[in-house]
């Protein structure tokens, strides 16, 4: 036995958990897949995002806020120990609207949620002129925006690199190119990699993204998740043209503008399509007309990990105790919570957050 925990999946979710477990003095073995696996951690949009999350589930909104609030400290600690600048910016973010009616509708929903959260939901409604003051490059078709002050963004690739570096620095073992084929339990969990190697640990965390669809049932989870494709466009590096990110468009610290937020139910297909790429490009140009002249240098598709209600799943197996399923579609936003608070739950400590509302039981047919 070489570790207390085997973490199946070395993406943002698995590495955030590993990082937090190492801080609690646990020994960690991370088994990461190979290039044939889908990798949301390399394809995502890099938002640390609160607004719009958990409109029908305040517990999810709170959990998201708890993570967003822990991000600055988490990022500083990670940056200091690895020397990487994560380029975290939490100065608010926008949700843009092209017509007043849908803006008003959303504001009403936000007011309800704000009440349910005891008032902790700081947002402002900016009409076109007020928005133009904040973002001089905004286009004439934008009717307004909701500016939520708890939103922000980060460089997600540097986050991934920092986590991997720091997990190794603290003595964690990270094995790459080791897709897991089978997991079973006798006294200990026996984890069989595709190359035939068997790893044994007393506890297992399944944080394999879409890999949990196949591995979950072996541990007694139903793992009711599905892929949802998002396509992304990247422009050439440009002088600063926007001050805050939004769910559909952001300018990263290196100057490139990232355009995204398509949602397609197409199964395990992460290709790009001209139709969707043009649709998201047209929307971005409507928001920031100067982008019409920008050159695109890259595009890709990536698969989100979606549960039936869109919220995370945190579940210990009832058939094989000691096995945990952790899956979510907002791995960046929740990275700080997964690093700071989830390890106590895995350890069964009294300090553990109450995550009952995120169990798999909520999907059981009653």
């Amino acid at each position: 036995m070489e570790a207390d925990y085997a973490i199946i999946g070395g993406g943002i979710v698995g590495l955030s958990i590993s990082w937090g477990l190492l801080k609690r003095g646990r020994r960690v073995l991370v088994l990461d897949g190979d290039d044939g696996n889908f990798r949301a951690s390399r394809g995502n949009f890099g938002l640390v995002w609160v607004q719009g999350k958990g409109l029908k589930q305040p517990a999810y909104a709170s959990w998201t806020q708890k993570s967003a609030a822990a991000w600055a400290d988490f990022s500083a600690e990670l940056g200091e120990s690895t020397g990487h600048n994560l380029a975290l910016q939490q100065a608010g973010g926008y949700d843009f609207y092209f017509d007043e009616e849908s803006l008003e509708q959303r504001v009403a929903e936000f007011e309800t949620l704000k009440e349910e959260l005891g008032g902790d939901y700081p947002f402002d409604v900016l009409r076109h002129n007020e928005l133009k003051h904040e973002e001089p490059n905004i286009g004439p078709r934008v009717a307004g925006a909701i500016l939520h002050h708890q939103d922000g963004h980060v460089n997600p690739l540097r986050l991934l690199k920092s986590l991997a570096d720091d997990v190794r620095r603290m003595g964690g073992t990270v094995k790459c190119g080791v897709p897991v084929k089978r997991i079973s339990k006798r006294d200990l969990f026996e984890i069989e990699a595709e190359d035939g190697t068997i790893y044994t640990t007393p506890k297992v965390v399944l944080s394999a993204g879409l890999g949990a669809m196949e591995l979950g049932p072996q541990l007694g989870f139903s793992a009711p998740i599905r892929p949802q494709r998002g396509q992304v466009l990247i422009t050439e590096k440009l002088p600063k043209m926007m001050n805050r990110p939004s769910g559909i468009i952001r300018q990263v610290d290196e100057g490139g503008v990232q355009i995204g937020d398509s949602k397609e139910e197409v199964g395990l297909d992460d290709r790009v399509t001209l139709e969707t790429a043009s649709a998201i490009a047209a929307r971005a140009v409507a928001v920031y007309p100067d982008l019409a002249k920008a050159k695109l240098v890259r595009s890709w598709g990536a698969l989100r990990i979606m549960s039936p209600d869109g919220f995370p799943i945190y579940q210990e197996s009832s058939t094989t105790p000691g096995a945990f399923l952790v899956t979510c579609h907002s791995g960046i936003t929740l990275a700080a919570a997964h690093a700071r608070y989830l390890p106590a739950w895995l350890d069964g400590s009294d300090q553990a957050p109450n995550l009952e509302v995120f169990s798999e039981q909520r999907f059981a047919i009653s």
Binding site: K240, G255, K295
Partner: protein
Amino acid sequence: MNNASPFHNISPSDDLVTVTFDGIEYVLPNGANLAASLLEAGLRSFRNTPVSGALRGPFCMMGACYDCLVEIDGETRQACMTAVTSGLKIERAHRDKGLEND
């Protein structure tokens, strides 16, 4: 540093046209590769990066690296993917526009 251009046209042409780069006139072979022609004319850096303002010039010469960007008609274009035409007005891309200079 030896400032002599190390680039020489191996198939000189008599069909020459005038273009401007940042207002300075250059006489270049009509239809030739713009990046190659400007290098031959002695230019080393074509632009500043938009974040730190660092100098950049052609690197890959095959449309992949996006280092040879110049501004033509208000758009950034790859010089190595552009042909020399008469009267072309070329500007240095992102001069004085570094994000850090805000």
